[in-house]
Amino acid sequence: MLLDVAIASKDYLSADGRPRRALEDLRLTLKRGEAGAVVGPSGCGKTTLLRIVAGLDRDFAGNVALPHHGRLGMVFQEPRLLPWRSVADNIQIAAPHASRAEIDGLLDTLGLAGHAEHFPRQLSLGLARRAALARALAIKPDLLLLDEPLVSLDAALAIELRDLLARLIDETHVTTLIVTHDLAEAIALADKIFILSPRPARVAAVLDIATPRRLMTLEAAEALTLKARTAIAALRE
C-alpha cells in the first residue's frame, strides 16, 4: 500500500468560534501506480483532506501513512508559481536534480515549449497550471496530489488538459490522488473513485474502474456514471 489515510476526526474553528467537524472516520488507500479520485460536493472537506495528506495540516486525529522519504508533487488550485522566476527556473528550483534536458522534455510534453523563459504573469491560467503540473512531475514524485486540476478553465481547455493528464498518469504510472467536484473528470482520470458524504465527510462509496481508461467504451462510462450517481443520491436521503 503506498498511501493509507485513516483520519478519525478533523475539527476546525468556524467563524463564530465554535469547533466544527470537517472529516470523520475517513479511510482511503491507494496501491503503487493507482490513481484515485476523491469526489464530493463543494465545501465537504476535500481540500482539507488533501492538505492533511500533503502534510500541510497536522492538527487532526488519525494517521496518514506515506512511503518513507517519499517525494510529494502537488498541483494547488492556484498555480503557486514564483512570479519572480521564469517557468524553467520555477521547475528547476523545485527539482534541483532534474537536468535541463529533462525539464525541456517536460515543457514540451505539456505544450509549454515556447514559454520556458517567460514569467508566470505572462501565462494564462491554463498555461500556468500546466507549468505547475510540470513542476510537480519534474521531481519524479512517489505521490502526485492534484487539487481540482481543471477548475475555472473553459470547457475546451479543460478537456484538453484532462486528456493530457490521463495520458501522463498512464505513461508515468505515478500514484495520484485527485480531488474534484466533477464526476466525469474523476471517471476520466482515476482507477478508483472515493465518493465523500456531506460534512462531516467520510468515504461513502468506493467505485473501482476495472477497464483501462483508454479502452473504456461509452456504455461502460455511462454505466459507471449511473452507479456513482445512485451512490450520491443515496447519501442525500
Binding site: G55, L56, G73, L82, P83, P96, R121, Q122, R135, I139
Partner: protein
C-alpha cells in the same frame, strides 16, 4: 534631463543668493570649488572622504544585516515579536546623540564605538521595515515550499528575499542618508579624520567655504550610490513585475 535642469537651477540660485550675501556667510560656487580643488590637490579631501565612506559602509552593513535578520524573526514569530517589541520602541526613541555619547564613554573614543553607535541608530529602522516585509510574505508560497521540501537556502534565495527586496530597498534608501548624517556627528565628537572632523574644524575657523567643500562632495557621492547602485538593483529585482503580457 529634468533632473539635470533642476540641479542646474539649484546652482544658479546659490550663485544668485551669494551675490547678495556676506561672502563669509555664504560663499558662491566659485570660491567653494577653489577650496575643494586645493584640498583635493593636497590629498586631504580624499583621505577624509574615504574615512567617512568606510564608516558609512561598515555601520550600514552591520545595521542592515542585523536589522533584517531581527525584523524577519519578529515578523515570523509572534513570541519573538512580543519579547523584542519594547526594546525596539525604546531604541527607536533614544536620541542619536545619547547613543553616541554613551558609546564613547563606555567603549572609549575608538573606531568600534563610533561604528557601533551609528549602527545602533540605524538598527531599529531596519528592523521595523524588515518586520513589515516578513509579515507580508505570502503563506501560499510557503506551503508550496513545504510540500516540495525546498531546503532552507533555496527558500531564502527564491521565496523570501524576492518578497523582501522592495522593503530592503526602501530601508537602504532611507538608511544611507540617515547613516551618513550620524557618521558626521560621530566624527565631530570623537574622531580625528573624516568629513565630520573637517566640518568641526571649519566651524572653529568660521570657514563656510571649507564646510561646503567637504559636505557637497559627500552629498554627490551618496547621490551616485542612489543612482548607480540602489536604483539599478531595484529595477533588476522588479523586472518580473513590469513586463507582464
Amino acid at each position: 534631463m529634468i533632473r539635470l535642469a533642476s540641479f542646474a537651477a539649484m546652482i544658479l540660485l546659490w550663485q544668485a543668493a551669494a551675490l547678495f550675501a556676506d561672502p563669509r556667510h555664504l560663499p558662491g560656487p566659485g570660491p567653494v570649488a577653489l577650496i575643494m580643488l586645493e584640498e583635493a590637490r593636497s590629498g586631504e579631501l580624499f583621505v577624509n572622504l574615504a574615512a567617512t565612506l568606510a564608516r558609512v559602509a561598515a555601520s550600514f552593513a552591520l545595521a542592515m544585516s542585523l536589522g533584517s535578520a531581527l525584523g524577519y524573526l519578529m515578523g515570523r514569530n509572534r513570541l519573538a515579536d512580543k519579547i523584542l517589541d519594547p526594546w525596539l520602541v525604546a531604541l527607536l526613541n533614544l536620541p542619536a546623540l545619547v547613543v553616541i555619547v554613551l558609546a564613547y564613554i563606555w567603549a572609549g573614543l575608538t573606531e568600534a564605538a563610533a561604528i557601533g553607535a551609528v549602527a545602533l541608530n540605524k538598527l531599529p529602522g531596519a528592523v521595523v521595515v524588515a518586520r513589515e516585509g516578513a509579515r507580508s510574505l505570502d503563506p501560499a508560497l510557503d506551503e508550496m515550499a513545504t510540500v516540495f521540501r525546498l531546503p532552507l537556502k533555496a527558500r531564502l534565495r527564491h521565496i523570501v528575499l524576492p518578497q523582501l527586496a522592495p522593503y530592503l530597498a526602501a530601508a537602504t534608501r532611507s538608511g544611507l542618508s540617515l547613516v551618513w548624517k550620524i557618521v558626521l556627528i560621530v566624527e565631530l565628537l570623537g574622531r580625528s579624520n573624516g568629513v565630520g572632523f573637517k566640518i568641526n574644524l571649519a566651524f572653529q575657523l568660521f570657514d563656510v567655504r571649507l564646510l561646503l567643500a567637504y559636505a557637497l562632495p559627500f552629498v554627490a557621492i551618496m547621490l551616485g550610490v542612489e543612482t548607480f547602485v540602489v536604483r539599478p538593483f531595484e529595477r533588476r529585482v522588479s523586472r518580473w513585475r513590469s513586463d507582464a503580457a
